[in-house]
C-alpha cells in the first residue's frame, strides 16, 4: 500500500472547514472532560453517540477521537494542580507534577506536559501512519480462528493489566460478556436473557453501561465515600513558560516516554498506566539527581506524560487495523463505527480508505490544536476546576440521564441506568476495574461470532484454534498473560510461603 497519496487524501478530508470544526469541538470537549473530575472520555463519547444519526461518519469519528486524546492532555492539568488524577493514566503526573506545583513551579509542569504530549502525540501519529498498513497486511491474512484468538488476547490483557488484581479484572470482563449476551442472538435470531422485557430485546446499550459505571457509579462513590476528603487547588504562580534548563531536562524524557508508550498502546495490551510507570522508573534511574524524584522533578512529569499520550494514540492501531479496542473509550468508538454499519479492520482500509486516512490525518491537526488549547489557554481550563463539587456532579448526572433517556425516550433505561450505577459503585468500592466490562460487552458478541464462524469452517471441531499456528500462538500468549501475575505472586521474589 502506498502511504503518501493516501495520507494526502486524508489531509484533504481532515482539513475541510467542517471536519476542522469537528476536530476542534472534539479536542475542546476532550480537554474539558479531562480536566473535570468525575467525567472522562468514555462517558463523553458514549453520550455523544446519538449524533451519529445526524453527522456524517468522518465528522463524528474525528470528533470522538479528539475527545479521546484531548482528555489525555486535560487530565494532566488536574493532576498537577489538584493532585487528584483525572484519568488513571495520570497517577504518576499527580505524584511528581503536584510536587512541582507546590513549589511554585506549576507553570513549567503544565508546559512540559503539554509540549511533551504534543511531541508524543505527533510522533505516535507518525508511527500510526506507517505501522497501520503493515498491520493491515497481516490482518488480511487472518481468518475467523485468528481473530477469535486475537480477541481472547485482548480480553486477557485488558482484564489483567487494568487494575491490580487479575481475578477481579477477569470477573469484570465476564460481567461485560454476560451483559453482551442480552438481546437477540444475531446468528439464529433467538432472544437471550430478555426476560420478556421488550426493551431488552435490542440488547443493553453501551451508552447505558458506560454512563452507569463511569458517571453514576463514580458520583455515588464520591458522594458517599469521598466527600469528606478535602482537596487543595494549587495556583499557577509565575511564568508558565519553561526555562532553558527545563527544556534541556525535558526533551530526552519526552522522546523516551514516546518510545515506551507507543508500542504499549499499539499491541492489544490495554491501559496507559504501565508505560507511565515504566517511563517514570527509567527517568528516575537515568536522572543525575534521582533524589529529586518525589519532590518535583520535571523529568518525572515529562516522561510519563509523553508515554501516556503516545500509548493512547498507539491504541488506535489495533482499533483501526484489527477492530480490537483496548480501552473503554476505544470500545465505545468501535460501537460508533458500528452505528454507521462499518467494522474497523483491515478491510476498512480498502473499502473506506478515505474515512480512515481522514481520521488519521485529523490526529496531526488535533494535536496542534491541543497544544494551543493547553498552553496559552491553560488558565481558562483551570477555571473549570473552581466549579464546586455539588453542582459539578449534579450537572454531570443531568447530562448522564438526559443522554440515556434521550437515546430511546424510555424511562425504563433510566431505572436500568440506576441499577448499573449501583453495580459501578460496588465495583469501585470493592476494587473491581470497570473498563473490562465495557470492552467485554462490545467485544464479546464479536468474539462469539468469530468463534462460531471458525467452528463452521471446521464443522464443529475446536481443534481449529490450535492447528492454525497463528491462532495457537495467540492463545498461548493469552494463557501466559493470565497466569503470569499468579505465578509471579506465588514464585516470584517477595512471595509469601503458602
Amino acid at each position: 500500500m502506498d502511504i503518501w497519496p493516501q495520507l494526502l487524501d486524508g489531509f484533504t478530508i481532515a482539513l475541510t472547514l467542517q471536519n476542522l470544526m469537528w476536530a476542534l469541538v472534539g479536542v475542546t470537549l476532550g480537554t474539558a472532560v479531562g480536566v473535570l473530575p468525575g467525567v472522562g472520555p468514555a462517558v463523553t463519547v458514549a453520550l455523544l453517540l446519538p449524533i451519529t444519526t445526524k453527522v456524517d461518519a468522518s465528522g463524528a469519528l474525528i470528533m470522538f477521537a479528539g475527545v479521546y486524546y484531548g482528555a489525555m492532555y486535560g487530565g494532566s492539568t488536574t493532576s498537577i494542580l489538584l493532585n487528584t488524577p483525572g484519568e488513571s493514566a495520570t497517577i504518576i503526573t499527580a505524584l511528581e507534577g503536584n510536587q512541582m506545583a507546590r513549589k511554585g513551579r506549576a507553570g513549567p509542569a503544565l508546559a512540559t506536559s503539554a509540549i511533551g504530549s504534543f511531541i508524543a502525540g505527533t510522533i505516535a501519529t507518525i508511527g500510526l501512519t506507517f505501522l497501520s498498513p503493515v498491520v493491515v497486511e497481516l490482518g488480511l491474512k487472518f481468518g475467523p480462528p485468528e481473530y477469535f484468538a486475537l480477541m481472547i488476547v485482548a480480553f486477557t490483557t485488558v482484564s489483567s493489566v487494568l487494575g491490580d488484581s487479575s481475578l477481579r479484572g477477569i470477573t469484570s470482563l465476564f460481567l461485560g460478556l454476560a451483559i453482551g449476551l442480552v438481546g437477540i442472538d444475531n446468528q439464529t435470531g433467538q432472544a437471550r436473557f430478555a426476560l420478556g422485557v421488550p426493551q431488552l430485546l435490542d440488547g443493553i446499550e453501551v451508552v447505558t453501561i458506560a454512563v452507569g459505571l463511569f458517571a453514576v457509579g463514580e458520583t455515588m462513590y464520591f458522594a458517599s465515600k469521598m466527600n469528606q476528603v478535602q482537596e487543595k487547588l494549587e495556583a499557577i504562580s509565575g511564568s508558565i513558560w519553561m526555562k532553558a534548563e527545563d527544556w534541556k531536562r525535558s526533551w530526552k524524557p519526552w522522546i523516551r516516554g514516546t518510545l515506551i508508550g507507543f508500542p504499549f498502546g499499539s499491541i492489544p495490551a490495554g491501559g496507559a498506566e504501565i508505560p507511565t510507570f515504566l517511563s517514570y522508573a527509567i527517568e528516575k534511574k537515568l536522572a543525575k539527581n534521582p533524589e529529586e524524584f518525589g519532590h518535583g522533578a520535571i523529568e518525572g512529569v515529562a516522561g510519563p506524560e509523553a508515554a501516556n499520550n503516545a500509548s493512547s494514540t498507539g491504541a488506535m492501531v489495533p482499533l483501526l487495523t484489527l477492530g480490537l479496542p483496548t480501552s473503554a473509550t476505544a470500545a465505545i468508538m468501535l460501537s460508533a463505527f458500528q452505528q454507521y454499519g462499518l467494522q474497523p479492520g483491515p478491510l476498512l482500509f480498502e473499502t473506506n480508505s478515505a474515512l480512515v486516512w481522514g481520521l488519521i490525518a485529523s490526529f496531526y491537526v488535533g494535536n496542534v490544536m491541543l497544544l494551543v488549547l493547553n498552553l496559552p489557554m491553560v488558565g481558562l481550563w483551570v477555571k473549570l476546576l473552581a466549579i464546586p463539587k455539588p453542582q459539578l456532579y449534579a450537572g454531570i448526572l443531568v447530562f448522564a440521564t438526559m443522554g440515556v433517556y434521550g437515546m430511546r425516550q424510555s424511562p425504563f433505561d433510566v431505572f436500568l441506568l440506576y441499577a448499573i450505577g449501583v453495580a459501578g459503585f460496588l465495583m469501585r468500592r470493592f476494587g473491581f476495574p470497570t473498563a473490562p466490562v465495557v470492552v467485554g460487552m462490545i467485544l464479546g458478541p464479536l468474539a462469539e461470532e468469530q468463534m462460531r464462524r471458525a467452528l463452521a469452517i471446521s464443522q464443529g471441531s475446536p481443534a481449529i484454534f490450535v492447528t492454525h499456528p497463528i491462532s495457537a500462538g495467540l492463545l498461548a500468549v493469552a494463557v501466559a498473560v493470565v497466569l503470569a501475575p499468579w505465578l509471579w505472586r506465588r514464585f516470584g521474589p517477595g512471595s509469601r510461603p503458602a
Binding site: 481475578l167 465476564f174 460481567l175 443531568v398 434521550g406 464462524r453
Partner: protein
C-alpha cells in the same frame, strides 16, 4: 490486623456466584448445537455462566482467607459510608424516571440536579434549583429547537414556545 471475615467481600463473591447461576439458568433452554458450526446460541451463556461460577468461588476463597488481594479493606471500612448521600442520589434518579414523561424533562432535570447537589451536602436549595432549572431549560432548548429532537415538555408544554 486483618479482619477475619470481611462481610462486604463475601457478599460480593456470593453475588458473582448467583450471577453465574442466573446466566446458566437463563441460557439453559437455548440450544447448543445446530448449524454448520455445531454451536448454537446456548454455548456462550454456558461458558460465561460456568466461568462466573468459577470466578465467584475463587473470589469467595480470597475473601475468606484474608480478603481480596491488593485491596485495603481495613482502610475502606474506616471511611464511613454516607447512606444519606446515597439515598439522595437514588431519590433523584428515581424521581427523574417517574417524572420525565409526566412532568417533563425540565422539571425532572431540575429536581435531579437539586437532589444530587444535596447529596454532596450542598444546602443552598434555592440556588441549586435555579441552576438546575437553567441547565434543564438550556439542554431542552438546544435539543428541541436546535437539533430537532423531542425531549418531553410535560406540564410545561403549554407555556413553552
Amino acid at each position: 490486623m486483618i479482619q477475619p471475615r470481611p462481610k462486604g467481600q463475601i457478599a460480593v463473591s456470593v453475588g458473582v456466584l448467583v450471577l453465574g447461576m442466573l446466566v446458566l439458568a437463563g441460557g439453559w433452554d437455548l440450544s447448543t448445537g445446530g448449524g454448520y458450526a455445531q454451536v448454537g446460541p446456548g454455548v456462550m451463556p454456558r461458558i460465561v455462566g460456568t466461568v462466573l461460577l468459577l470466578l465467584g468461588a475463587m473470589l469467595l476463597r480470597e475473601a475468606l482467607t484474608g480478603g481480596f488481594h491488593g485491596v485495603d479493606e481495613e482502610a475502606e471500612v474506616r471511611i464511613p459510608m454516607d447512606w444519606k448521600a446515597f439515598a439522595w442520589i437514588t431519590a433523584g434518579i428515581f424521581l427523574y424516571g417517574f417524572l420525565v414523561e409526566r412532568a417533563g424533562f425540565i422539571i425532572a432535570s431540575t429536581l435531579l440536579f437539586a437532589a444530587v447537589a444535596r447529596s454532596f451536602a450542598s444546602r443552598r436549595w434555592l440556588s441549586n434549583l435555579l441552576v438546575g432549572l437553567a441547565l434543564g431549560a438550556f439542554i431542552f432548548a438546544v435539543f428541541n429547537y436546535g437539533l430537532g429532537l423531542n425531549l418531553p415538555a410535560g406540564v410545561l408544554g403549554p407555556v413553552l414556545p
